[in-house]
Subunit: 496 residues, 2 copies
C-alpha cells in the first residue's frame, strides 16, 4: 500500500533527526565542555524544533490517521506501528511548537545544571529548572488528556498499561510481604568481613577490570563501547551502535563493577534486537520495565551470584592483590550482597532497592497531584527516607539531587526500576527450568544465557508489548511473588 | 534591513545542521564503533540532504542574490558575509541534490574505510572510494566553473586568492633557496645522542605529559577538550566548543607531544576568536593557511625552541626518569629538531616538511588534470619521495595511504600546510619586534603571546581575508623569504 510506504519514508526521516539529537545527548553526558552548553542548547533547539515539525506535520498526520482508519487492512506489525504512532501523535499534536522547543532547550541546559548543583550541593541553583520541568510536563499531559490523572499518563508512557492502580497493588504487596523481611535482615546483627569494600582501588585498575568484565560477558565491541560519566547510563540509536557508561569511585569499587554489569545488561538487550526492526518504529527495547529486567538480571542474578565470583574473583585478586589479600571468596560474595540502609539508589543493595523506588513513586505522585512545591521537596524526600529506611540524608547530593531523571524530564520512570526487578525474577524462574544458569555462569559460558534471552525476549524489539512478552515467556501475567521468593531465598541464606 | 534579518535567520538554521553533522564527525573520528558505520552514513545522509536543501533553497538564494545586488547599502561586515555566501551558493547551486547526498554518504563511509585500509596495508580495498571521491570533486568544480582549471578552484576553496600560479612561485622559491640547504643538512654527518627518541614511553605517562602541556600552554578546558584519535585533528563548531586530538605511539613519544601542541595551536586560534562572530558566517579561522600558521607557530616556534624545553624538560624528566636519565637538555633539544629524510608527513621535521607537501601538491595537480589513475598513485607517490627525499616507502601506510585528507574529500588542502609554515615565519619576525618571545617562553608566560595573537590575528575570525590579515599584521604581502631565513638560521646553528 502506497500509504504504508509513505509512512516508512516519513519515519526514516524522523529517525535521522532523532539520531543526531541522541548523539548530541551522548556527547553532552560524556564529554562536551561546560562552556559549550548555552550555545549547544540553542543549536539543538533548532534541530528538535525541526523534528517536532516533522512529527506533527500535516503530511504525517494524514498518513498515520489515514492508516489508523484502515487498521484491518494492515499486517500485524504495521498495525502495531500505526497504533504506536497514533498514540505518539495524540500526545504531541496539541503541544504548541514554541513550548516544545523551549522545553527541549530547558532539558538541554538542565542536565549539566543538575550536575553542577549536585556537585556543589546547591539545590537553590537548580530548583528553578526543576519547577519548569514539572510545569511543562503537567501542561503537556493536560494537552493530551484532561480526563485521565496526569501521573497515569506519565506512567503509561514509560510502561505501557501501567497506572497508579497496578503500581499501588505491586508496592502494597511488597510492603506487606517484603518490608518485614527487610527489617529482619537489617536487624539481624550479622557481622561481615567487609572493610575491603571501602579500600582504595585506583581508577586505572578498576578500568582494567571493567574491560575484563565486558569481555567475559560477551559485549559486542564492534557495535558498541563503554565510557565514563557521572551517572551511568545506556545509549543507543540502533542495534549496531549501543553504548553505555560506568563510573569510577576510588573508595567504592563496587560502583564501577555493578554499574558496568547493569548497563551492559541494557546494552546487550539493544544489541540483540533483530536488526530488521532498525528501520521501523518498533526498534529498541519494548518498555522501561522490560529493559530494567534485563539490566537487573545481569547485575543481580548473574553479577551478584556466588557462581559468577567463583569464575571471576581470581582475576580481581590478580588486579588488586594488596587490597584483597585477606578477603576470601565467601567474604567477597557476602560483601557484594551486603544489605544496609543507604542513601544512594544506584549503590543500594537488591533488597533495600525497592524502598528507594517507593520514596520516588510517592513523591512523583504528589508532584503530579500539585500536593508539593519544589521548595518542599528536599524535606519530603528526607522524611520518606526516614520512614522507609530509617536514615536521613545529610545533604542534597545524597538526597533529592542524587538522580539525573527529573533533570532530563523523566517523571514516571522510577517505578519501572522496581517493576523491572520483579519481572527479572519472574523470567529467572522460567529460565532455570530450561537451562542450568548456575553451571553456565560458573563455567563462564554466558553466551548460552545471552542466546536464551535473545530468542525469548531481545530479538522482538518493541514488536511485542511488555504484557505480551511476559506472558509468552513465563506463561502467566505479572506476578510479584517470584520477586519476593527470590529475595527471601537468597537473603535468608546470607543473613538469617 | 529586513532582508538582512532574514539572511541571519536562515544562516542560524543552517548552522544548527552543520553543528550536529560536525558533532557526528567528531564522534566518528574518535569513538563510534565500527559496526555502526553503514547505518550512521544513511542517517547522516538524510541530515546533510536537509542541509543541502536549506543551503540551496529558493528562499536563501533570493535573499543572498538579492542582497548581493544591493551590496553598496550594506555595512562592511555584512558585505563580506554576502560575498562569501554568494560564492558558496555559486559553488553548490548547480550540484544535483542526489549527487550531493551520495557524496556525503561516500565521505561518511570512506574515513573509516581508509583507517582499515591503512591498518591492513590494503590499497586495493580503498582505491575504489578514492576514485569516487576524485570523480565527484572534478564533477562538482565543473558544475561551478568550466573555464577555470579545476585545481585552481579547489586551491582557492582552502585559501582564498591562491592558485597554481602563486603556489608554483612559492614552491619554486623553496626549491631554489631551500632545497640545497636541506641537502647540506642531511649530508652534514652530524651525530646526535638520539637513541632516547625511540625508547619505550608508556601511553598513560605520555597522557600525563600531554595534559601538563595543554595546561602550561593555557588551553581553556572550559571551552574545549583533548582526546585521542588515529590521525590528530582539531574540531570546532564555535568559540566555546573547540576540541582536538593527539595520538600516542609508545615507541615515539614526540608524536603525542608535537601533535598535541600543533592541534592546540589550531584550537587556541578558534577559542580566541571573538564570540560575536559565532552567529555569523564569519566565525572560525579565516583560512587553512592562516590556521596552519598558528598551529605551526605553537608547534615549532614555541614547542621546538630551546627556551620551551628549558622551562619544561624538568617536568618531562620527572615523568620519564629512566628513559631520559642520560639525556641532557641539549641532547633533547637537538632530538626534537632532528632532521632526516622520513616517510610520514605528520612526523616530519620542520626542515624536510615542505618536501612532503611538494609531493602531494604535484600529485594532486596531476589528479585534477586527469594525468594519473588511482592505480598509478602508489608508484607515483613513491617515485616523488625518492625524487625529493631520496627514500622509498615500503608499504602503503607509509606512502599514499598515510593521510586522512583525500578520504575526507580534502583535495587542495595540503599546500596550505607549507604556506602556513611560511606565514608563521612572517608573523614571527613581526612578533619578536614587539614582544620578547624567547623570554616569555622561557618564563612560561605564554599568556602574553596568546594575547598578542588574539589581538592581531585570532579575534577577527573570518572577517578579514588571509591577504588582508597578513598585510595588516606584518606590513607587507606574503613573502617566503622569512620562512627560508628562519629555517636557515635555526638549522645552521644546529647542524653546520
Amino acid at each position: 500500500m502506497e500509504l504504508v510506504n509513505k509512512f516508512n519514508e516519513l519515519v526514516a526521516k524522523q529517525k535521522a533527526y532523532i539520531y543526531v539529537l541522541t548523539l548530541a545527548g551522548w556527547d553532552s553526558a560524556t564529554e562536551a565542555p561546560r562552556g559549550a552548553f548555552q550555545r549547544r542548547a540553542e543549536m539543538l533547539g533548532v534541530i528538535s524544533g525541526e523534528l517536532f515539525n516533522l512529527q506533527t506535520s500535516k503530511e504525517y498526520q494524514d498518513v498515520v490517521y489515514g492508516l489508523f482508519k484502515r487498521l484491518d487492512e494492515l499486517d500485524d506489525i504495521t498495525k502495531r506501528e500505526i497504533k504506536k504512532a497514533k498514540k505518539g501523535l495524540d500526545k504531541i499534536i496539541k503541544i504548541p511548537k514554541e513550548e516544545f522547543v523551549e522545553y527541549n532547550k530547558l532539558i538541554g541546559l538542565s542536565q549539566r545544571k543538575w550536575e553542577d548543583a549536585k556537585h556543589n550541593n546547591d539545590y537553590e541553583g537548580f530548583k528553578g529548572n526543576l519547577e519548569q520541568i514539572f510545569m511543562y510536563n503537567k501542561k503537556f499531559v493536560a494537552y493530551y488528556n484532561k480526563d485521565e490523572h496526569p501521573y497515569n499518563i506519565m506512567l503509561d508512557g514509560f510502561e505501557e498499561g501501567m497506572s497508579m492502580k497496578e503500581y499501588d497493588e505491586f508496592f502494597n504487596t511488597l510492603k506487606k510481604d517484603l518490608v518485614p523481611f527487610v527489617k529482619e535482615v537489617l536487624n539481624s546483627g550479622k557481622k561481615l568481613n567487609d572493610a575491603f569494600i571501602t579500600d582504595f582501588y585506583p581508577k586505572e585498575k578498576q578500568k582494567e577490570f571493567a574491560e575484563y568484565l565486558i569481555e567475559v560477558l560477551n559485549f559486542d565491541k564492534n557495535s558498541g563501547l563503554m565510557k565514563e560519566s557521572v551517572h551511568p547510563f545506556t545509549w543507543n540509536t540502533h542495534s549496531t551502535d549501543v553504548r553505555f557508561t560506568t563510573r569510577y569511585l576510588e573508595n567504592f569499587m563496587f560502583s564501577s563493577i555493578f554499574a558496568a554489569i547493569h548497563e551492559l545488561g541494557h546494552a546487550t538487550y539493544e544489541q540483540q534486537i533483530d536488526s530488521k526492526w532498525d528501520d521501523t518504529t518498533l526498534s529498541g527495547g519494548t518498555s522501561m520495565g522490560i529493559h530494567e529486567s534485563q539490566s537487573r538480571f545481569y547485575e543481580n542474578n548473574i553479577g551478584r551470584s556466588i557462581e559468577f565470583w567463583e569464575a571471576h574473583y581470581p582475576k580481581l585478586l590478580e588486579i588488586f592483590p594488596e587490597q584483597l589479600k585477606d578477603v576470601s571468596l565467601d567474604d567477597f560474595y557476602r560483601g557484594v550482597n551486603k544489605v544496609e540502609a543507604s542513601f544512594i539508589r544506584v549503590e543500594a543493595d537488591e533488597l533495600t532497592y525497592p524502598m528507594h523506588i517507593m520514596v520516588r513513586y510517592e513523591i512523583e505522585r504528589m508532584i503530579m497531584n500539585n500536593e508539593v512545591t519544589v521548595d518542599e521537596l528536599p524535606k519530603l524526600w528526607n522524611d520518606k527516607m526516614v520512614e522507609y529506611l530509617g536514615i536521613e540524608p545529610k545533604d542534597f547530593a545524597e538526597g533529592v539531587l542524587q538522580d539525573v531523571h527529573w533533570s532530563a524530564g523523566l517523571i514516571g520512570y522510577f517505578p519501572t526500576y522496581a517493576l523491572g526487578s520483579a519481572y527479572s525474577a519472574q523470567f529467572y524462574y522460567t529460565m532455570i527450568k530450561e537451562i542450568d544458569v548456575e553451571a553456565l555462569v560458573k563455567g563462564n559460558n554466558i553466551k548460552v544465557i545471552n542466546e536464551w534471552l535473545k530468542e525469548k525476549i531481545h530479538n522482538f524489539g518493541s514488536s511485542r508489548t511488555p504484557k505480551e512478552l511476559l506472558f509468552d515467556v513465563t506463561g502467566e501475567d505479572f506476578n510479584p511473588k517470584y520477586y519476593i521468593k527470590y529475595l527471601k531465598e537468597k537473603y535468608s541464606k546470607l543473613y538469617l
